[in-house]
Amino acid sequence: MVARVDSCALYGMDANLVEVEADLITGLPAFTIVGLPDAAIQEAKERVKLSIINSEYEFPLKRITVNLAPADLKKEGPAFDLPIALAILISSKQLAQKGIDRFLVVGELSLNGDLRPISGVLSMAMLAKKAGKEGLIVPTENADEAALMGDLKVIAASSLSEVVDHFQGRVSISNHSYSFPLAKEEEDPDHLDYYDIKGQDHAKRAVEVAVAGGHNILMVGPPGSGKTMLAKRIPTILPTMSFEESIETTKIYSVANMLPSKNALIELRPIRSPHHTISMAGLVGGGQSPRPGEISLSHNGVLFLDEFPEFPKSVMEVLRQPLEEGLVTISRASSTLTFPSNFMLVAAMNPCRCGYLGDRKRECSCSLSSIHQYRSRISGPILDRIDIQIEVPRLTKDDLIAERVGEPSKEIRDRVEKARKIQRERFDGGAILANANMNSRQIKKHCSLTAEAKDFLDSAIDKLGLSGRGYDKVLKVSRSIADLAASEKIDVIHLAEACQYRCFDPSQKI
């Protein structure tokens, strides 16, 4: 009898339906798996055989053929262990076929028949829903993740025999549902907060503006001035994630097998800070069967690139498409995949190779040409996509010993949320969500200036030598500043502030 159990294979971000068929014929004992399986599936033979024997079922001494359909799709990973085991039990009449085909079955088996967690369960749950399945059979550890989708029956089992017992009616595993943790204020002692940062009010303000309008930001300053501290705390002032955003980010982490074990849903915006030795594939995603890279792992969060000019040029330039479109397309000979990557870029760098150009205390030892060379590592197209560029100077002695503490993150976040709300209403129904994504037409429409501001801008264009693009950038940033002040029109003070955030502009002299 040909047994059939439905399972699925991950393919980029999405899961594809795979039918696992098994049949037995008389002959010398043999176990063959066909249907483009990878090494992990070939090895499933041993795991399946021993878990069937160790769960005290009979492993049929016949010629077993397992087929994974559709035959042209490459399948990989250990998630097929459980469906293969069930299909063999069905074909050897130790389990009835009835009822199982209403479920999508996934799970890795250990030699004693226990189920182990697998990656990408959220995508699989989405597939189950789309394919009209009644539910999903998953290892216990993945149950929360599977239940996030709602409307699906989630059967969480810890071993092969539990699944069999459930379908034979000996025990009934009840439907697992996800209980959202009660809203709690983070009281972690290590919890980051802007409260910890002394001084640097100018930089903190710039970060606030950047977050309010979704602008990318570049911080330039000598070593030890607090660039990293500032960057690491950005997630604490980002607006709270919506459920949809949480699901999107969780899906990426699930596919990358990086989901923290205790909470299934990622509710805090991620911050990723890859080292500058990262490869192109590590940053944008890749591999033979492409996996999401750092830019996708920072989807709906922050990508922090410290020592920005040290990143290889090729790696830096691949950021262009994701910065523009919020997604990244990876093309390989075998496939083309798209991963979401809508992140806020936060870059930090020293002003020159030695790090002390413009410092109050130490003299810079770089030659003019070396400064030039260092700065030119960041190309125009990348700089164009960074709306806010600020200097973060070394702290003065007074700042260091001052008892004064900064403003807590929560207060800043409240202001940011207000500014974001204004923007949501402004772009209601449009494709964009934040000021940073406006195109020139939208800038014209939404950035109306007061009469004085117009005069101010006129003279600024001359004095600062603003290019067309520089002009757009100043307007976008001043729009965000005005939103923070809840002002409908952009005024001189907003424009003047925006003009300060362009210290690294190509038109600026060293």
Binding site: T26, G27, L28, L61
Partner: protein, 114 residues
């Protein structure tokens, strides 16, 4: 003393004859190996490997017909056919698995085993 293997082969011949097989040759051997039984089952030519075990401690007797062994029998069959051309319907490989224990004897005939 006659070995376990030979005793098993005698049992296999008896079983096959009772099933109407016409035994053509026993222990067809060349330098590279041996085929236990060559027989005719109706229009088919059948090469039969007999595996005899005294206990199940190391698995069923037929589990011992490894892939390597199968390949060997396959090559032997080719050598046999080179010497004795066959124009019947099909060529088949069977296994007779015999458990010759102190208390009980199991005999199993697997048709078309590989």
């Amino acid at each position: 003393m006659k070995g376990l293997g030979a005793a098993g082969e005698d049992m296999a011949v008896k079983l096959l004859s009772s099933k109407g097989f016409e035994i053509i040759e026993r222990n067809f051997s060349l330098r590279m190996g041996e085929i236990d039984i060559v027989a005719k089952d109706g229009l088919d030519l059948v090469f039969i490997e007999v595996k005899t075990r005294a206990s199940k401690e190391f698995g069923e007797p037929f589990e011992a017909v490894s892939l390597l062994k199968q390949k060997k029998i396959y090559r032997m069959a080719e050598a046999y056919l080179a010497k004795n051309p066959f124009d019947g319907r099909a060529i088949r490989f069977d296994v007779v698995s015999i458990l010759l224990g102190p208390e009980r004897t199991d005999i199993e005939h697997i048709k078309n085993a590989f």
